[in-house]
């Protein structure tokens, strides 16, 4: 079971993540009442998912366009961003777009190949929950949020760049 860190605390994960190419019926069959469905499934069955009685979140793969959630981001409780491999940095931009452009206020979660050494940058881009790969020490991962005391840029977490505060 992967460890979940949310808003700086290790918590139990109430959400079930539905894999790609899962049929709607099977997705709704999950025992959990919180499901994160792939973007394609959600696009196709938005209505049914809304009436299913489940709490529904959406996960975007790194090549999905976050702007396609422009009209729905406000209603979603959770959006997850998948890192198919940790080197694929597209989700950092997806996070910044969801938070910065689409004003998404819900839980923004990193899933997939999420490494401890990236958590800090993810947080700066507005991701606030992290599904850690097995084998990552959660306490150490928590500590890594303090790796840096400051940053130069304007980020989602700190919109004022350092030069405005210097």
């Amino acid at each position: 079971m992967p460890t979940l860190i949310k808003d700086g605390a290790i918590i139990d994960n109430p959400w079930h993540t539905v894999q790609k190419e899962t049929e709607l019926a099977e997705a709704l069959d999950a025992v959990e009442d919180h499901v994160i469905v792939p973007f394609s499934l959600w696009q196709e069955h938005k209505g049914e998912l809304g009436e299913s009685g489940k709490t529904v979140g959406v996960w975007l793969d790194s090549d999905d366009d976050p702007y396609e959630l422009a009209y729905d981001a406000g209603d979603l409780p959770l959006i997850a961003l998948n890192f198919p491999v940790f080197r694929d940095g597209r989700a950092f931009s997806s996070a910044a777009i969801l938070r910065g452009r689409l004003s998404f206020k819900g839980e923004l979660r990193a899933i997939g190949d999420v490494l401890r050494d990236q958590l800090f940058y993810m947080k700066r881009c507005g991701i606030n929950s992290f599904e850690l790969e097995d084998g990552i020490n959660a306490e150490e991962a928590l500590a890594s949020f303090n790796d840096f005391s400051e940053n130069y840029q304007s980020t989602i977490e700190t919109p004022e760049p350092l030069f405005q505060r210097r």
């Binding site: 950092f92 881009c125 940053n151 840029q153 210097r166």
Partner: protein
């Protein structure tokens, strides 16, 4: 020069601690090779053919004498007593020990230096003209803008896992010495009719496997929008740059595929959101950065010196040096001095610990305590009094630092090549040396005149071969090293990419090939034409005919 404040120091210290811990975890087996790879690369650490290599950043090529002394002592204490200046104005150590790297980094931090983002798929060291701040033809000093970009790009959380490496150059002088047009982003500083500073923005230039000259996507970007516009470019690239093929992952491929107009539209659409947002630059911040790059206290001096003229008339090597290595300065009675690191028999860009310390002493004694590194792998002392030139020349000579051939055929840009680099297909240093030996006679070099000769040991083009008037590329043919020649490249305001001369040559043939190319030029040149002028007028044919005359 820029001075770190508490924030800069703290972030650098945080990074050192972070990387020390990451290195420990890697050595302890807690991080896999694959996981450690981007972490070590973003801290400048390569695993090379013979040993690790660490590349230390020299932000926009500016060094203080104290920093240069530290680079010298590090080369002595952790390496073999020498180091190599790269074509990215950085310095490389070829023989450090992995477990000592964190200590090296801690020592570098003492003089406000580091190896952050000198490698890996992130925004690399921003480069600029080596004469910034002292050039007579300067539109605007590029260094404060480079520093602003340095801070913005350092630890940028959104752009640390880009499709590929990313290089930015800024040019604030009429004569472009920064190869601006062959960068992922090239910024030409301009002033509008009101005298306000802005940037002409080029994107998608680059060398490597597919050389491309950058396309203009903005004619005049007002200065305050610099960072928000850069963020928009980076975001478009991060999202849409190819990740399926390392050789098609640079921004130039994306810009080519989309077309510059479509790329511009995407950037503008993205930019709209952030334009005038919190990252918009302020006069206060620009003035803060400018305040670090003020002029030294120049003396009021005549712009001529009888003693120097007299020395030049009796010391012919000094007169060569004066003519080739000394450039005009914006202030009367001062000159810019180039120290050419291309002595025959020494790998281009290599320098010993002792030479570094010596140059640092000279910079304190004769200059403003500052040294610049050029992408041609030479050094610059930006503020030397005209009247001190002969004394300085003599001092340089005593440490083999007075090679008087800047910009001539022996002033070769050359990557480390197959002798050091694990990416190389062929050696490059021995080629450079064989050509330097063939053209050793300085009078002959001066007859040939201005010529850029650039050598890369592989398609990655660290030696910038595409933009050399003559370019040489090492290629591998069935396990044998061969060399392809290109002609007509240049990297100034009228950047041109060289064209391939024809079939490649064996290593031992290279000096003869050069000899023939030069002969075609000398036989055909008109008036004061340079090699490039003659090539541009005549085209490839006569060169091709001569070189391949007795082939087959």
């Amino acid at each position: 020069m820029y001075k770190y404040d508490d924030y800069d120091h703290q972030m650098l210290q945080d990074r050192i601690n972070q990387f020390r811990e990451q290195t420990r975890r890697y050595i302890a087996g807690e991080l896999t090779e694959e996981q450690f790879l981007p972490l070590r690369l973003q801290n400048g650490l390569y695993i090379q053919r013979l040993a690790p290599m660490i590349r230390v950043a020299i932000p926009y090529g500016c060094l203080s004498s104290a920093q240069l002394r530290k680079l010298a002592s590090i080369s002595r204490d952790y390496d073999k007593g020498y180091a190599h200046f790269s074509t990215r104005q950085n310095i490389q150590y070829n023989w450090p020990k992995l477990e000592q790297i964190p200590d090296m980094l801690a020592e570098l931090a003492e003089v406000e230096m580091h190896a952050i983002q000198t490698s890996g798929n992130c925004i690399r060291n921003t480069t600029t003209d080596q004469f910034a701040g002292v050039a007579p033809d300067e539109i605007e000093d590029s260094r404060p803008w480079c520093e602003i970009i340095r801070q913005w790009s350092t630890f940028h959380p959104e752009f640390a896992y880009l499709p590929r490496k990313f290089k930015i150059a800024v040019c604030g002088t009429a004569n472009d010495q920064a190869a601006t047009q062959v960068h992922d982003i090239g910024l030409y500083i301009k002033k509008n009719a009101e005298g306000e500073v802005g940037f002409q923005v080029l994107v998608g230039g680059g060398l490597g496997r597919t050389p491309v000259i950058g396309s203009e996507i903005c004619d005049f970007l007002p200065w305050k929008h610099l960072l928000t516009y850069l963020d928009a470019i980076m975001r478009v690239y991060n999202r849409f740059g190819r990740r399926d093929n390392k050789y098609k992952a640079r921004i130039k491929i994306l810009v080519k595929a989309m077309g510059a107009d479509a790329f511009r539209e995407k950037v503008e659409a993205e930019w709209l959101h952030d334009k005038d947002g919190p990252a918009t630059l302020t006069t206060k911040e620009v003035e803060r950065c400018r305040a670090y790059f003020t002029d030294p206290d120049y003396e009021v001096l005549e712009d001529s010196d009888a003693g120097i003229d007299e020395a030049a008339s009796r010391d012919v090597m000094f007169s060569h040096w004066l003519e080739r290595n000394v450039a005009p300065h914006k202030v009367s009675g001062y000159r810019i001095v180039n120290i050419c690191l291309k002595e025959t028999g020494v790998a281009p860009g290599d320098i010993t610990d002792r030479q570094m310390e010596y140059v640092a002493d000279l910079a304190d004694k004769f200059g403003s305590g500052e040294v610049r590194v050029t992408h041609e792998q030479n050094l610059v002392m930006p503020d030397v009094r005209l009247k001190d030139l002969y004394t300085l020349y003599e001092a340089c000579k005593s440490e083999s630092l007075a090679t008087p051939t800047l910009g001539l055929i022996s002033d070769i840009i050359c990557c480390p090549g197959g002798d050091f680099c694990s990416l190389a297909n062929a050696k490059s240093i021995p080629i450079a040396e064989s050509i330097q030996r063939r053209f050793e006679d300085i009078d002959r070099q001066k007859v040939i005149g201005d010529l850029t000769l650039n050598i890369s040991g592989c398609m990655n083009a660290c030696g910038h071969h595409h933009v050399g008037n003559i370019g040489i590329l090492g290629v591998d043919k069935k396990g044998q090293e061969f060399y392809q020649v290109t002609l007509g490249g240049s990297s100034d305001r009228t950047t041109q990419l060289g064209k391939v001369l024809g079939p490649s040559f064996a290593q031992e043939d290279m000096p003869d090939v050069m000899e023939k190319l030069i002969a075609v030029y000398l036989d055909n040149r008109q008036d004061s034409e340079t090699f490039l002028d003659t090539y541009n007028r005549l085209g490839m044919e006569p060169f091709k005919e001569r070189v391949y005359a007795n082939a087959d």
